[in-house]
Symmetry: C2
Subunit: 152 residues, 2 copies
């Protein structure tokens, strides 16, 4: 299955590399898209569409455009969608060749997010898949707790 042992290279990707990936798919490099990619580049953390919207330079673009851009980027594998269970999707830029699979530790009080290197042991996942006859099994895993600052 998935290999979770690799480092999640969070070194900022070059803008040219990002736009190149778009161009390869005959997608236009528009103002809104460039601005969105720039925001994602600057925030190595999962961002909601609304947060991206708020971070956009004045006169940014429509919220709907961000939703559409994130759908596109996700489909192209340039962005990974995360779900912290609060009803809002979050996105993180993914390195080329990487699948972006990793997990987070989220503070249930202040929403601080820490990226986690650990992953669910694939031997166990494989066993679960086999035991139930499932194929192409992945998992969604997030941790929740109280961060140092929020422990009363």
């Amino acid at each position: 299955m998935k290999n979770c042992a690799h480092k999640h290279s969070h070194q900022r990707q070059e803008m040219s590399a990002l736009t190149g990936r778009l161009r390869q798919q005959s997608c236009k490099i528009t103002g809104p898209r460039a601005a969105i990619l720039e925001i994602l580049r600057q925030h190595p953390h999962p961002l909601t569409n609304k947060e991206i919207f708020a971070s956009l330079p004045k006169g940014g673009c429509d919220l709907a455009t961000i939703y559409r851009a994130m759908q596109l980027l996700e489909k192209l594998g340039m962005v990974k969608r995360f779900d912290f269970g609060d009803g809002a999707a979050r996105f993180e830029l993914v390195g080329e060749g990487d699948d972006g699979h990793h997990h987070h530790l989220v503070c249930t009080r202040c929403a601080e997010v820490v990226e986690i290197g650990e992953c669910f042991p694939s031997e166990i996942e494989n066993r679960i898949a086999r035991a139930n006859g499932f194929k192409a099994v992945t998992h969604r895993l997030e941790f929740f707790g109280l961060c140092p600052g929020c422990q009363t």
Copy 2:
């Protein structure tokens, strides 16, 4: 942390035990609530509010009432909320004394759900918590894949 080794006793709970738990909290045993508990008793699987609504005998109750009932039951720990990432919350009855913590394997095509006995190793969870100074750490974990019948 959590003990994941116990069996998830899915033997149906007595209706009287359920209503008793409600009564203890000075909550009324109303028609809608009894009907909802009955549905949950009969379905040892995560159900959405809409599914509960649809399973209700004719002339059931308002959808809003179900939402309110599930909120109450969750607060009382009688029901556990699950999130399969499709935007709809799902609920399962929880045995008395149990915390209901467990996971599922969900078919991404037909939505079949299998309950999983395995859990994320608590030693690893503890290590993650300690390493980041977090307290009271839990996790949300679900598996997704193609069930035997959906593998083309």
